[in-house]
């Protein structure tokens, strides 16, 4: 008997997927959106992207050194937080705003909870909301896109959602002259956060993630489906006041939020039933904030609020334990 028997506990088959592979795939999938951003908003978008990403990496190094932990910036998670933060900022963000956001995202949003995998809230969204509450002027100064080579300067203007909310608050009616067409909105030719403008580029990236099986359909479908259903309902009730579901779909941060922020593995439920519930909750809150809230856009608040509900959702959607017939699951 020269043969040796190796014993190990399950799982026995490994997919080969590691944290850093997943993170790098997400980074690749965000490149089209970054490219479109630089095309439409020029060097200012590029500098926001660079400052946010480098700021997040630097903060991660400093935090992990201070806490005496191994430095893990090579896994790409801090870089993703940086890119997602940049994609959630207006192109005209001053450098200190972007840098402060990066520090808040990593230090307050992630490392105080113990680093990757322990944070209850999406770090990039925490930073975005802190900045939005603290610096409402800088965070809602939007630039009209000026494609590379067009020779245009960036001009301050309102986002489609902002223009709608303004008009409804003043007149109670949908404005007749919303800037841009649906095709513009879909391609990204509209004012907004750096990364939210181009639905097309975001969908391309998301398709790659689906292909790599990093995304599952549950959260994005439930999220976007709920937004379409609910906003469609209001549109049918009063089309003179409420915009149609397509408008809701392609303006604002819905696509970015639904595919990249609401699907963060750390801060969302683990079971499929839980994911569906999570998505529906995000959709409900988004539409309610957009239509009736004080802010024109509600995707980031919706996702953060549902992040807070995630432990509860996980608790109530826990699958039944096998091998315990007739026994109540101990809650």
């Amino acid at each position: 008997m020269s043969q040796q028997l190796y014993l190990s506990s399950s799982p026995h088959i490994h997919s080969g997927e590691t944290t850093s592979k997943v993170m790098h795939a997400v980074i690749y999938s965000l490149l089209p959106a970054c490219g479109v951003a630089v095309y439409f908003f020029g060097p200012s978008a590029l500098s926001v992207l660079l400052i946010a990403t480098l700021g997040c990496l630097a903060t991660e190094v400093v935090c992990q050194r201070l806490m005496g932990q191994p430095v893990t910036i090579a896994d790409g998670s801090a870089a993703i937080t940086g890119i997602l933060l940049a994609l959630n900022l207006p192109p005209s963000s001053p450098w200190w705003l972007t840098l402060l956001g990066a520090v808040i995202a990593i230090a307050i949003g992630k490392q105080v909870y113990g680093g990757l995998g322990s944070n209850p809230f999406n770090p990039a969204l925490v930073a975005r909301v802190v900045l939005l509450i603290s610096f409402p002027v800088q965070m809602t100064t939007w630039s009209a896109p000026a494609p590379l080579g067009s020779g245009l300067d960036l001009v301050t203007t309102a986002t489609p959602l902002g223009a709608w909310k303004n008009a409804v608050m003043l007149t109670g009616q949908m404005p007749s002259d919303l800037p841009g067409s649906t095709a513009d909105y879909f391609l990204g030719n509209m004012p907004g956060c750096i990364g939210e403008v181009s639905a097309l580029a975001l969908l391309l990236g998301a398709a790659y993630l689906f292909y790599r099986r990093i995304l599952t359909w549950h959260i994005p479908t439930a999220f976007i489906g709920t937004v379409i259903l609910l906003s469609g309902l209001f549109w049918l009730i009063d089309p003179a006041k409420y915009p149609n579901p397509v408008f809701h779909l392609v303006t604002g941060g819905l696509i970015l939020g639904a595919f990249y922020m609401a699907t963060d593995m750390v801060t969302t439920p683990v079971s499929t039933r839980g994911m569906l519930l999570f998505g529906v909750g995000c959709g409900l809150l988004t539409v309610l904030i957009r239509l009736f809230g004080g802010y024109p856009e509600g995707v980031s608040f919706a996702i953060l609020l549902m992040n807070a509900a995630t432990p509860l959702i996980d608790r109530y959607t826990r699958p039944k334990t096998f091998g315990t017939p007739g026994q109540e699951v101990v809650r």
Binding site: W96, L100, V112, V130, I133, S134, Q138
Partner: protein, 197 residues
């Protein structure tokens, strides 16, 4: 325990806010500036010393079964004194602190000291305990208020600290900023204690 030690314990080792985590509702709510923090701390200290004195003097008279209502009546009397005095002499502060002045009645620090200390000790130690705990509470509120005011408004006790180009981090004087500042200060204190050991 000597009287000095009795006084000092409230400053750091048994600090109401940062060690016992008592009375957090007014702590988090009113510390939007250093001035508000100190005012709240002084008002609470007055009530705390007053209630400790009276509870200690009456500790043999108050029947055990109704001691909590009796304590609350005593505390509420002192809070009424504070409230009327502030309304008469410090009207701006009275308006700034608002509902949180009458709410001193339900500050668990005061009831906690009455129950845990004053009702079991003689007059002098009970008075010193109230003074120490109150001073510690005031200091904690001052520090928290100062940190929040510094970053949230760019001022300290109303004087501008940073240059005119400073953009205040408004979040710090909003409710979430209270929790974030509180957490970071707690972490800093724990770090300090851990290093000292």
């Amino acid at each position: 325990m000597s009287l000095l030690e009795n006084f000092k314990k409230g400053l750091w080792r048994e600090n109401a806010v940062f060690r016992l985590l008592l009375g957090l509702c007014p702590t988090l709510a009113v510390t939007t500036s250093a001035e508000n923090g100190v005012a709240m701390g002084l008002a609470t200290t007055f009530v705390l010393v007053g209630s400790n004195v009276v509870v200690s003097m009456l500790r043999k008279v108050i029947p055990g079964k109704v001691r909590i209502p009796a304590f609350i009546v005593i505390i509420a009397s002192f809070v009424t004194v504070v409230q009327l005095c502030m309304e008469a002499y410090f009207y701006d502060l009275y308006k700034a602190l608002g509902i949180f002045i009458p709410l001193i009645v339900v500050n668990c620090l005061i009831l906690g000291r009455a129950e845990a200390f004053a009702s079991k000790n003689r007059l002098l130690p009970a008075t010193v305990d109230g003074l120490g705990m109150g001073t510690g509470f005031t200091l904690a509120l001052f520090v928290l208020g100062a940190v929040r005011e510094l970053f949230g408004s760019g001022t300290l006790l109303g004087y501008a600290v940073f240059g005119s180009g400073y953009q205040p981090l408004i979040l710090m004087i909003l409710p979430p900023g209270a929790f974030i500042a509180m957490g970071l200060l707690l972490a800093a204190m724990n770090l300090f204690d851990a290093r000292r050991r």
